[in-house]
């Protein structure tokens, strides 16, 4: 039997831009940065004060009071994004979806907000330990909560591979559909890590910018943390056709590799391998890719390695290929990044618009790409690539194509 083709029939997102895919896409396309001074639950020793944080979110507007105590902020985001995706796909909570539906949600750090609170209450305040801490913290909590909400009894798990988590969750979910293990899957990524402790931990690695994140630009000095989730309802093309659901895009290719080299320093060959595998898996050659949504963190090391890797795949065509990073808009959402940025990539493809890399000051000779500087550009797209490269050396890339 031919492997199933995998289509997206629903997209949902929560980001610093607000609740909803439209808010995220509007911010990315117009280059409206959501980075500002962060509100932190507890004061810490962090010197970096900025993040892309969602400040208006009221979880009780979306989640039942009986369920909410079990949900860390990363699970809350996943539930809200899943609701949007499933509503768009024409599925509701009225009936349990059953054993032919899986749930795969990536997260880099899971319930770190709960851990932070637990430490503060337990170690500082000598207060009462939250008995719900364990089900809130576990990395699979978001996947389980989404599965419970929709009655999905198929394969359900979290995926964790630092900043590649979201992309890997979508890729593995797509493989489950392709292999016929499930007909539909709820896939994506979620992370919320804006605490003083976490900002401090990241800044001790010297990769956070104290001012502005400017990927691929001269004068760049680091990334900015973000939070959010993106969730997709994916299904076999046949499942979508049978129930009359309109495909928004096809998940055509997935490629993943590991540098197996350095825990923090990226390796261009590992990144290039993941891109190559994803493009091959989509049955395309590099000339078939019309836009790349880069990992583009804005750190000196990532952007040089990524440009090098892109050069190994696209060769001389790279200078004409639009490659942008939307991270200065929505922040680096870590385990959600692959999902949030795939959502942006699909919207870009559907609208024929490459979103800009904002805060760009001028070219870095070591990064010889076209970063779509500062302003969006009309780019007709049949296929687009989304990159995710993680600490630990794990690389994951997804190729989406227009739904026919």
């Amino acid at each position: 039997m031919e492997p199933a083709r995998v289509v997206v029939t629903g997209i949902g997102a929560v980001s610093a831009a607000g609740v909803g895919i439209e808010a995220l896409w509007w911010a990315a396309r117009t280059g409206k940065s959501c980075v500002a001074e962060a509100n932190l639950p507890h004061e810490g020793s962090n010197r970096v004060k900025i993040a892309a944080q969602l400040k208006t979110f009221q979880p009780e507007d979306f989640i039942d009071p009986k369920v909410l105590p079990y949900c860390d902020r990363f699970s809350q985001f996943a539930l809200v994004a899943a609701d949007e995706a499933l509503a768009q796909a024409g599925l509701d909570r009225g009936r349990r979806l059953g054993g032919r539906v899986g749930v795969v949600i990536g997260t880099a750090v899971g319930g770190i907000t709960t851990i932070d609170e637990l430490c503060f209450v337990e170690l500082v305040m000598k207060g009462r330990t939250d008995p719900l801490a364990v089900p809130r913290i576990m990395g699979s909590a978001a996947a389980s909560q989404v599965g419970m909400r929709y009655g999905c009894t198929g394969p359900t798990f979290g995926v964790t591979s630092a900043c590649a988590s979201g992309a890997q969750a979508i890729g593995i979910g797509a493989f489950l559909v392709r292999a016929g293990v499930v007909d539909q899957a709820i896939v994506g990524g979620s992370d919320s890590t804006i605490t003083a402790l976490n900002i401090r931990a990241w800044e001790t690695l010297r990769v956070l910018t104290p001012d502005r994140s400017r990927p691929f630009s001269a004068g760049r000095n680091g990334m900015v943390l973000g939070e959010g989730a993106a969730v997709f309802l994916i299904e076999s093309e046949r499942s979508a056709r049978q129930r009359g659901a309109a495909p928004l895009a096809e998940i055509a290719g997935y490629g993943t590799s590991s540098d197996a080299c350095d825990i923090v320093r990226p390796d261009a060959e590992g990144a290039a391998t993941a891109m190559r595998l994803a493009i091959e898996d989509a049955g395309l050659d590099p000339d078939g890719i019309d836009y790349v949504n880069a990992h583009g963190t804005g750190t000196v090391a990532n952007d040089i390695a990524e440009a090098d890797a892109l050069g190994r795949i696209f060769g001389r065509r790279l200078r004409e290929l639009p490659v942008s990073s939307t991270k200065p808009v929505h922040g680096h959402t870590l385990g959600a990044a692959g999902a949030v940025e795939l959502a942006v990539t699909i919207m870009a493809m559907r609208e024929g618009t490459a979103p800009p890399t904002i805060n760009w000051l001028g070219p870095d000779p070591k990064v010889d790409i076209d970063p779509v500087p500062n302003e969006a550009r009309r780019v007709p797209m049949r296929a687009a690539l989304s990159n995710s490269f993680a600490f630990g050396g794990i690389n994951a890339c997804l190729v989406v194509t227009r739904a026919e």
Binding site: R47, E203, L205, R206, V207, G222
Partner: protein, 89 residues
């Protein structure tokens, strides 16, 4: 020697001490021309060096172009000293 030059020289000595202690390198091996690579100072050692710089001098030094591109001990020390002096205004 003008004050600023004395201040910079003194700073450089202190930065070299940090490279020695955090990079686990004998102080005598750290010459201006030596590369961090030749001293086996790895990426995580640089992170630890910058951590101690922050504690000693109260300045957050992200890894930007000047730090990442410094080819030897002299240029690394200069880049760090620049950041410390900048923070002093």
């Amino acid at each position: 020697m003008p004050d600023i030059a004395i201040e910079r020289k003194d700073l450089a000595e202190q930065i070299l001490d940090v490279i020695a202690s955090e990079g686990k390198v004998e102080r005598s091996r750290i010459t201006p021309e030596a590369t961090l690579q030749s001293l086996e100072v790895e990426s995580m050692d640089v992170v630890m060096i910058l951590m101690v710089i922050e504690e000693k001098f109260g300045v957050y030094v992200p890894i930007d172009g000047a730090i990442a591109e410094s080819s030897n001990v002299a240029s690394f020390v200069n880049a760090v000293a620049d950041r410390i002096l900048e923070s002093r205004g």
